[in-house]
């Protein structure tokens, strides 16, 4: 219990009390409970609770339940939703649950919070963890009362002896339950759906009040005793190196202590630091100011010849040439050779930056060949590995604490900034907080790859496609980890390779491309460009055929069926096969709710639809647009239908899909990363604009399909349908077809 008391004392509430009185620096490590046990893997309050049947939960004698959140919270809701699944199966009272954020630790399984996989991969595991506790508590009560287990049932935070209505609160059973053997998986009985308390019922975020009162702790808020601040002047071009540098002026800036050379990476760059010159200072401002005064002479390296305008042309040429065939069905060539009607079009989506509101930031403390790091990371085990590799220490010697993330969107799956903090802490012999400026964030991101896409269809007499040729060219994300990689692989899953249409001849290809900036995943990854292309193309075909786009789309899907792709190496996960019925249902639902074909729209207004599946979640959106005389685009309304299987937290599903509509709007309207001589042209929200309140959709209505299918994630899938639905709506409103993003490059007025 002494450990417990200590933990409470260094909780973040304790920290903030001190912060409010202005003496935060007197505390040691200030906020994360498990900090007190840094370096151990058995140090969570759940582990130390009287009854702790598994790594994910613990019960105290006072009835407090600790549940581990092992996935990262970046607004996706997993820190609330997954623990509620545990609490439900345990029959725990949510108001008595305290959530504990896990450090990076393989015993929790994967903690890499991306791909919208948290609920999909851990729903059943979380249920089992809760059910295990419930079963043991019931058995403990049966022993206490000397009655058969079959006569006992759990209620809310109690076990009840049904024949006598006697009740024992969970807390009072903690000691006796802790003495029982842990049941085998086969003994666990999961609740029937009808008995669910929390699953299927919406819940606000666990951290809601802390967020609204400024108490929530993000990476940028982490601070430890004796910490210094660092800002790093990175090589302006990827792969550049410091030739020499002059820091005399920088050292004159008040608060600047010293400068430190950060070594460049060896290929593949992976999550190694970019290198450069770090300015170490007493506060963030001094570090930023000192950096402006460092004069670096760079060897810019081979990427200094990279110009995105030229690269765009090369990509477009690649997309026009035959590539590597990744799916082949029927005979596209023979069909095209018939000499019938065909239609072809090409699409382009630029590099995109994540622009999380919280820029990359981390605190690291290197001492005695061990590292403790606090980071807003989507992948704490990855941070452990990357730091261990960089410093030549064992992975177990790195303890990674996960703070709240001020946005992630895939950027914070890459822990390069945490590695930087660890490297610098070792070099300066003190805990170091690395803070990236917004300019650093925009200029040195792991960008979503730029893509050129080419589509060609052979058409029958009714304008329906008989052949589908799809070619895509983009720098593969695998090249981040394998410098020789030129072809995308897993990026082709989903909307690209699946082609969910009833077309006899299909050939899908991918062309080679090389990255000249760092590339990585961004909210729905390749579906951002593939769904844009495919759903725009279908709309084009519909108009060419003189058909209503919705009718045309539904006809193209064909009847409800399970699409067995039978492609070697394609994911075989249960439930992965594409269900055309579910795709049709979300399409019809979005259209119905939007009043497609029924609602009269005025001049300059139009509706567009797009649909896809990403990470097992089916989403359709109808966007209504108004284009004014000056070409200004306004989005009064979006109707989104989503089928994410069992809706575990419907309130969160709605929130995620509302947010996705805004994120997708940013991509469609204004987001674009370009480069001149290897240097990124954009730098902050002035030249990398994201949607503001007056540019976002005014109202997004979200409709959740009721389903008993296994649950799938909702963090990403709502994004990629927005750009094509918006552009299709603009076509309906103005007759202007958009095949390149962003809209800000195109005159509509």
């Amino acid at each position: 219990m002494t450990g417990m008391t200590h933990i409470q004392n260094v909780s973040r509430r304790g920290f903030l009390k001190d912060a409010l009185s202005g003496c935060a620096f007197v505390l040691g490590v200030c906020y994360l409970p498990s900090v007190a046990h840094a370096g151990t893997t058995a140090g969570t309050p759940a582990d130390r609770a009287t009854f702790h049947p598994n790594a994910f939960l613990g019960l105290e004698t006072d009835g407090t339940v600790y549940i581990i959140a092992h996935r990262s919270e970046m607004g996706n809701g997993s820190r609330t939703t997954l623990p509620r699944v545990v609490a439900d199966e345990m029959d725990a009272d949510w108001s008595r649950v305290q959530i504990v954020q896990a450090i990076g630790d393989a015993r929790y399984g994967s903690q890499e919070t991306d791909g919208s996989q948290s609920i999909r991969k851990f729903f059943t595991v979380m249920r089992e963890m809760g059910a295990m506790a419930r079963l043991m508590l019931i058995r403990a009560a049966a022993i206490e009362w000397s009655v058969p287990v079959s006569q006992c049932e759990s209620g809310l935070h109690v076990v009840e002896h049904i024949p006598t209505h006697r009740k024992l609160p969970y807390g009072e059973l903690a000691i006796s339950a802790s003495k029982l053997p842990v049941p085998k998986k086969a003994e666990l009985k999961l609740k029937p759906r009808t008995a669910w308390r929390y699953i299927g019922r919406g819940a606000g975020l666990y951290d809601l009040k802390d967020i609204c009162t400024g108490k929530a702790v993000y990476g940028i808020d982490a601070r430890i005793d004796g910490m210094v601040y660092a800002s790093i002047e990175h090589p302006p071009v990827l792969g550049g190196k410091v030739k020499s540098y002059e820091d005399r002026e920088a050292l004159r800036v008040p608060g600047v202590r010293r400068t430190v050379l950060v070594e460049p990476f060896n290929l593949p760059y992976g999550v190694q630091p970019l290198g450069g010159v770090a300015v170490i200072a007493d506060n963030t401002w001094a570090a930023f100011q000192g950096r402006k005064k460092v004069n670096v002479t760079w060897d810019l390296g081979p990427n200094a010849s990279y110009n995105s305008d030229q690269f765009k042309k090369e990509l477009q040429q690649t997309a026009h040439q035959p590539g590597k065939v990744v799916r082949n069905q029927g005979d596209v060539d023979t069909d095209f050779a018939r000499g019938g009607k065909t239609f072809e079009a090409e699409y382009y989506v630029p590099h995109l930056a994540h622009a999380t509101m919280e820029p990359p930031v981390a605190v690291a403390d290197f001492r005695d060949d061990k590292v403790t790091v606090w980071a807003p990371t989507q992948d704490p085990q990855g941070v452990q590995q990357s730091i261990a590799r960089e410093l030549g220490i064992r992975q177990e010697a790195v303890t990674c604490h996960v703070t709240l993330l001020g946005g992630g969107f895939g950027r914070k799956s890459f822990g390069d900034f945490a590695v930087e903090a660890a490297v610098l802490s070792k070099k300066v012999g003190k805990p170091v907080k690395v803070v990236w400026s917004r300019e650093d964030d925009i200029k040195f991101d792991y960008y979503l790859p730029v893509a050129a896409v080419y589509l060609k269809a052979a058409l029958d007499s009714n304008g329906g496609p008989t052949s589908w040729l799809a070619r895509s060219a983009f720098p593969p994300i695998n090249s981040t980890f394998d410098s020789s990689a030129r072809y995308g692989g897993w990026e082709l899953e989903g909307s690209w390779i699946e082609v969910p249409f009833d077309i006899p001849n299909i050939r899908v290809e991918v062309g080679p491309a090389r990255a000249h900036v760092r590339v990585g995943w961004l909210r729905s990854v390749a579906s951002n460009y593939h769904t844009f292309a495919v759903q725009s193309f279908i709309d084009d075909l519909a108009h060419k055929a003189g058909r209503d786009p919705l009718e045309y789309l539904l006809e193209l899907f064909g009847p409800p069926r399970i699409l067995d792709l039978n492609i070697p190496g394609y994911p075989q996960e249960p439930g992965f096969a594409l269900d055309i019925g579910r795709l049709r249902r979300v399409t019809e639902m979005a259209a119905e709710k939007a009043g497609w074909g029924r609602r009269k729209l005025g001049n300059g207004r139009g509706m567009g639809i797009a649909v896809h599946r990403y990470s097992l979640t089916y989403v359709a959106s109808v966007v209504e647009v108004e284009v004014d005389e000056k070409g200004g685009v306004h989005i009064p309304r979006i109707d989104t239908a989503v089928d994410a299987g069992t809706a575990v937290n419907p309130a969160n599903i709605k929130a995620q899909l509302e947010g996705a509509a805004v994120f997708g709007t940013s991509i469609a309207r204004s987001c674009e990363i370009t480069a001149t001589n290897g240097i990124i042209d954009q730098s902050n929200f002035n030249d990398y604009p994201v949607a503001r309140i007056d540019e976002a959709p005014y109202q997004t209505n979200v409709y959740v399909v009721e389903s008993t299918a296994p649950p799938s994630g909702v963090g990403e899938p709502g994004v990629p349908v927005i750009a094509p639905a918006l552009c299709n709506a603009i076509f309906a409103a103005t007759g202007k077809r958009i095949r390149e993003l962003p809209l800000s490059n195109i005159r509509l007025g």
Partner: protein, 153 residues
């Protein structure tokens, strides 16, 4: 050296007076509820009140706050929840939450100048505050709800 009040407490500061209020609050006073987003008054994450007016603390040097009263999200919260915070919670506005302290501080200032804001008022006065998670429609609804709640009291 300058003097100022932060959340009702007298403070004096003799460091670099060009340091923006943001970093003074965060790194010197440890008031981390106010967030860094852009450093150029482009995103509003750093919004606090100077004598009741919303300012972007990332571009206002401490020098310019001499003699002023600075109120941060912590200061707003110290007397119980503001109606705006309550509305934010009722509408489950936040996702990642990082920008929300700035949004709330901006909304409180907005309702002071426009107790019954129109959609246009909200667009005009909130468009300096970026939310990358895209919670704008809930922000709009929460501002209207807070306006109603304040009218009642």
């Amino acid at each position: 050296m300058i003097r100022l009040r932060v959340n009702g407490t007298e403070r004096s500061f003799d460091g670099d007076l060009e340091m923006p209020v943001l970093w003074y609050l965060r790194d010197v006073l440890g008031l981390t509820g106010t967030k860094f987003g852009c450093g150029m008054a482009l995103c509003g994450a750093c919004t606090v009140h100077q004598d009741g007016r919303a300012i972007r603390s990332c571009v206002v040097p401490v020098r310019a706050a001499a003699g002023a009263e600075i109120t941060t999200i912590e200061g707003i919260s110290s007397k119980g929840l503001d109606p705006v915070q309550r509305a934010w919670m009722d509408h489950n506005v936040p996702q990642c939450g990082y920008c929300q302290a700035g949004q709330i501080m901006q909304a409180i200032a907005l309702l002071k100048s426009k107790p019954r804001p129109s959609d246009q008022d909200i667009d005009d006065l909130m468009n300096g505050n970026i939310c990358r998670c895209g919670t704008y429609q809930r922000i709009r609804a929460a501002i209207k709800a807070a306006s109603k709640a304040m009218e009642r009291t």
